[in-house]
Amino acid sequence: MTARLVTGATGLLLGAYGAWLLLSRQDSERLRDAGVWFVSGVVLHDALLAPLVIALAALGARLLPRPARAPATVGLVVLGSVTLLAVPVLGRFGARADNATLLDRSYTAGWLLLAGLVLTSVVVATVVRARRRSTGAEGRSTDGPSARR
C-alpha cells in the first residue's frame, strides 16, 4: 500500500510539473489554443469515434453473415486505426512546393493497396471459415459457444 501511495504521489508530482511547464512557457493566446487541442482529442474520441465504431459493429452484426464477422472485425481494427494515424500524410497537409523530398509518396495509392490487402484477407478468411463450418457441421450436431469464435 505504501508503495502504491508513493507511486501515486510521484505521478501527481510529474503531472503537476508538466502543468506548470505548460502554463508558464507560453502567452495566453497560444495557451488557449493548446487547451482547445488538449480537450478536443478526448471529446472527439468519446463523443464521435467511439459511438461510430459501436454503430459500425452493430451494423456489421446485422448485415454480415456469421463467418464474416470475426475477419471483418480484424479488418476494421487494422485498417481503421492505420487510416486514422495516416490522416496527416493522406491529406498531405504539410506538403511544400519547395521541398520535393517531403510527403513524396502516392499516399492514396498506398492506402488503396493496404485496404485491398486487408479486404482480400477478410474475404479469404471468410470463405475458409464458411467452408470449415459447412464441413464441420456434418460431423457435429451441437454448436458450442467455442465454435462461435
Binding site: 502504491r4 501511495l5 507511486t7 501515486g8 505521478g11 508530482l13 510529474l14 503531472g15 503537476a16 510539473y17 508538466g18 511547464l21 505548460l22 512557457r25 507560453q26 497560444r30 495557451l31 489554443d33 493548446a34 488538449f38 482529442g41 478526448v42 474520441h45 468519446d46 467511439a50 456489421g60 452484426a61 470475426a70 472485425t73 480484424v74 481494427v77 487494422v78 481503421g80 486505426s81 492505420v82 494515424l85 495516416a86 490522416v87 496527416p88 500524410v89 491529406g91 497537409f93 504539410g94 511544400r96 519547395d98 521541398n99 520535393a100 523530398t101 517531403l102 510527403l103 513524396d104 509518396r105 499516399y107 495509392a109 498506398g110 492506402w111 493497396l113 493496404l114 462461435r148 469464435r149
Partner: protein, 383 residues
Amino acid sequence: MRPPADTDFTSRLRSAAVTARIGLWLGICFAVAFVTGLISHYAQVPDQPVPFPTNPSWGYRVTQGLHVTSGTAAVPLLLVKLWTVYPRLFKRPPRGLRRLAVEAAERASIGVLVAAAVFQLASGLANSAQWYPWAFSFRSTHYAVAWIAIGALVLHVAVKLPVIRRALATDVDSTEQDRPTATEPGALSRRGLLRTTWLAAGVAVLATAGGTVPLLRRVSVLGVRSGDGPAGVPINKSARAAGVTATATSPSYRLTVAYAGREVSLSRDDLAALPQATESLPIACVEGWSAGATWTGVRVRDLLDLVDAPPGHDVRVVSLQESGPFREPVLQSNFADDDRTLLALELHGETLAIDHGYPCRLIAPDRPGVLQTKWVHRLEVQA
C-alpha cells in the same frame, strides 16, 4: 430516451483481463516515447550541465526513430484499450459524498490521462508530417504535455495496481473482474482481439517506419518520406524556404572563423584547398526520419586551429538564414573538438546541393538534425 448506462454494454471482450494486457504494452510504448523524448529535448538544450555524448554516432538516429515508432504503435493500442473501458464512462455516480468525491477525482485523472495521451499522439503524428494546424509552440507544448501524460499514467497504474496484478496473474478468459452484464461472446475471442491489436500495431509500424529504417522503405506506403532527395538524402528545409538562395550562391560568400578578436575569412575554394576528411555520419531529424550518409569536408577542429582556439570551448555556428529558432545554435565543445565533426562540402562524393546547405554545412555525430546547421557562414568560438 435515457442515456446509456455501463450495464448496457454486454460484450465480454470489454474486460479488465483484456485492458490490462493491452495497457501493459501501451505503457511500454509511452515509457519509450517519454525517455527518448527527454533525450531529444536535452540534446537541443544549449547549456548542458552534462555534455550530450558524441557516441555512438547513430545514437540520436535510434532514439528519435524509436520515439516516433513507439508513438505510432501506440495509436491502435490506445484505441482498442479505450474501446474496452468505454462503458465506464457511463457508470452511474455512487451515493454518498465521500465516494462521490473519490469517483470524481478518479474520473478527472482518467480524463487528463486520455486527453494527454490523445494530444501527444495526434500532435506528434502531425509534426512528423510537418503539419502544424495550431497556433501553440509544438516543441514546448509536446514537452510539457509529455510530463502530464506520464504523470497521469504513473498515477493511473498506482490506482489500478491490484486490478492489473490480478488480471495479469489469471487467464485472459477469466471473468473474475468483469462487470456482471459483460457476458455476451463477441465476434472474436479475447485472445483473438489481443492478436488483432498486436497485428494493427505491427501494420502501423511497417506502413510508416521506412523513413528511418531503410529496409522498410518499399513497404512503408504511408511513410512521410520515401528517402529520395539530392544525393539520395531527403531535406527538411529548402534554401528557398530559408531565404538563402542568393547569399549561398554569391561569389562574395566567405566563411569567417572568429576567436578572441582574431578572424579568418575563407572562400569556398579556400575551404576546398584545406585538408579534407570523409566521415560516415547519419542525419537524423527530430521529425523521426533519418538517413545514413558519407560527408567530405574540413574538420571543424582544424578550422578552430586557424584562429588558435584552444580545445574546450563552445562554438556558435551561424547560418546565412535570416530568421528561425535554429539560425545560430551552439556547438558544444565536446562536439567541436570531436575529430568526426565536419564542415561538409560534399555529400556522397557530390558537391553539396544548395538544399543540403551549400556552400558548407555542419555535420557532427549523434546530434539532432535541426542542430546540423546548413549554409554556415560564421564559426564564433565562445570565450
